[in-house]
Amino acid sequence: MRRTLILIAAALLLGAADEPQLVPDVSQRDVEIQYSFTGADLLLFGAIVYPGGVRPEKPADVVVVLKGPDQSILMREKQKVAGIWVNADRARFQSAPSFYAMASSHPISRIVDERTAAIYELGVDKLQLSPSSLNESSELDRFQAGLVELRQRSGLFVERPGTVEITDGVLYRARLPLSARVIVGDYTAETFLVQDGRVVAAAVRDITVRKSGFEQFMAVAAERWSFLYGLTAIALAVGMGWAAGAIARRI
């Protein structure tokens, strides 16, 4: 509640500009992955500041996009060859987001045209993956659809059209789920204000996803002290196995 009041105060102060402005925030700037992490629900909210505080007659739309670090990926496609399914075709993409979640106040197709959606990467089918292999464009489309389908199923790509709530034309809020399978890194929460099919304002907030405590320690140990880590794994296995045997022989 206090945050909202501060936002409104900020909105009044910024009210002098010519173009409308966005004052966005997120419920969590730091997402910590701990032993019981099963994903997180992020609340993306903020205020729309109109020049002179005058709201336009036709209400504007808001789109929020939560994006994870880009990855360079190699995709393989299985085809049926001689009765069995084998990897036959492949494609390489330089910048596939590891996570992408989008919410909008209305379905994207009703807010902006195809071109604008592609420019701002609004929607999982509009992601610019920068293919770096020599595939035909129809093939690339097929691979992109495959990627989207795969990531949507594991909760890494999310689309929630029509879920951004706008209160009194100035305050907006949306919830986006962060899957438990997200990778660590720097995430961005972008907010777009759309009016008459045109993006009139945009703002970004950064979110850091990181492992903490024990999880952080394990990840670092496996990477840096791999010999000791391996030794620990073996010692643990041998120790537990031996202990169980010793106990069982007493019974």
Partner: protein, 304 residues
């Protein structure tokens, strides 16, 4: 009860994983197989990345075999000499396996090769075991004494030079035979992420002609050391050993292995073998269907 796996990067239900480890441990104690041929596919099916599944399953097999090895050692059913030769072969084989693995990964055909290998070997060995044990069962039911096997080991094994005496196995054969066998299982350990017990046990029985009593103990002994080496190799190269996942699997499997070892003392070996044959054939059939059916995931993603 959800728990986050720090290396696999996802959260799992801890009780499911412990239960899975328990079932595999039970089999491990009963039959002397590591159980990796069940753990790895089941973990992948649960959604854990294949490399993490294979790497962590290896340490679980270590844990499951320790209790088995200790039990068998106290009963004097481990042939250390035979085990030593098998381990030497296994470590060499694991090294070769790394090279083959890299080549297949580069070609993008690792999944298919793994699938086909599983089907061929599990199918072949399962069939062989089923045939043998059914014959033994019929002989048991009709009250006739089972026919004495004409040859104790395969003629090729007998043809190899430089014979050693393996007292506990009741064998006088060339160490080259178990060395090659160990190498073959070492390659499989690396490629399939399995202990190799399901290959080792039948091969020791039917190819080498070892006495049934020392087969289980000796194969567990070999599995113990080869999986330890594999765990270390994974920790150093792929860095995919998930200690939390391994811990959960271990809790289940060391307990299961104890129960399994006890059970194996009370059940007739003929029934034990036909049970193992059925399980192996079932996994093979499932794998074969998997190759032919349209897979759920047509696409796979590899992060560079």
């Amino acid at each position: 009860m959800d728990l986050y796996l720090p290396i696999a990067n996802l959260s799992v239900n801890a009780l499911v994983i412990i239960g899975l480890g328990g079932v595999v441990g039970l089999l491990s104690g009963m039959f002397g197989v590591g159980g990796g041929f069940l753990t790895t596919p089941l973990l992948i099916f649960y959604g854990i990345p294949p490399t993490v599944a294979a790497a962590s399953a290896a340490s679980q097999v270590t844990g499951a075999s320790v209790s088995g090895v200790v039990t068998h050692m106290s009963r004097g059913t481990v042939d250390f000499r035979m085990g030593g030769v098998l381990i030497a072969g296994g470590v060499v084989g694991a090294g070769l396996g790394v090279l083959i693995f890299r080549l297949l990964q580069y070609l993008g055909q690792i999944d298919t090769v793994i699938g086909i290998l599983y089907v061929l070997m599990l199918g072949g060995i399962g069939g062989l075991m089923a045939k043998e044990s059914i014959q033994a069962l019929i002989a048991l039911k009709t009250g006739r004494k089972p026919q004495a096997r004409k040859r104790r080991h395969h003629p090729l094994v007998a043809a190899l030079p430089m014979r050693w005496r393996f007292y506990r196995s009741g064998l006088y054969i060339s160490p080259l035979a178990p060395l090659l066998l160990g190498m073959a299982t070492g390659i499989l350990t690396m490629l399939l992420g399995v202990g190799g017990g399901f290959i080792l046990v039948p091969a020791m029985l039917y190819l080498l002609g070892m006495t049934t009593q020392s087969v289980v103990g000796t194969s567990l002994f070999q599995i113990l050391f080869v999986t330890m080496a594999t765990t270390m190799m994974h920790a150093m190269t792929t860095k995919a050993v998930d200690l939390v996942l391994a811990m959960l699997l271990l809790i289940g499997s060391v307990t299961g292995a104890q129960v399994g070892t006890r059970l194996s003392m009370t059940i007739r070996p003929e029934y034990l073998r036909i049970l193992l044959a059925a399980i192996v054939l079932l996994v093979a059939a499932r794998m074969a269907l998997g190759l032919g059916f349209r897979p759920d995931e047509i696409y796979t993603i590899e992060v560079r």
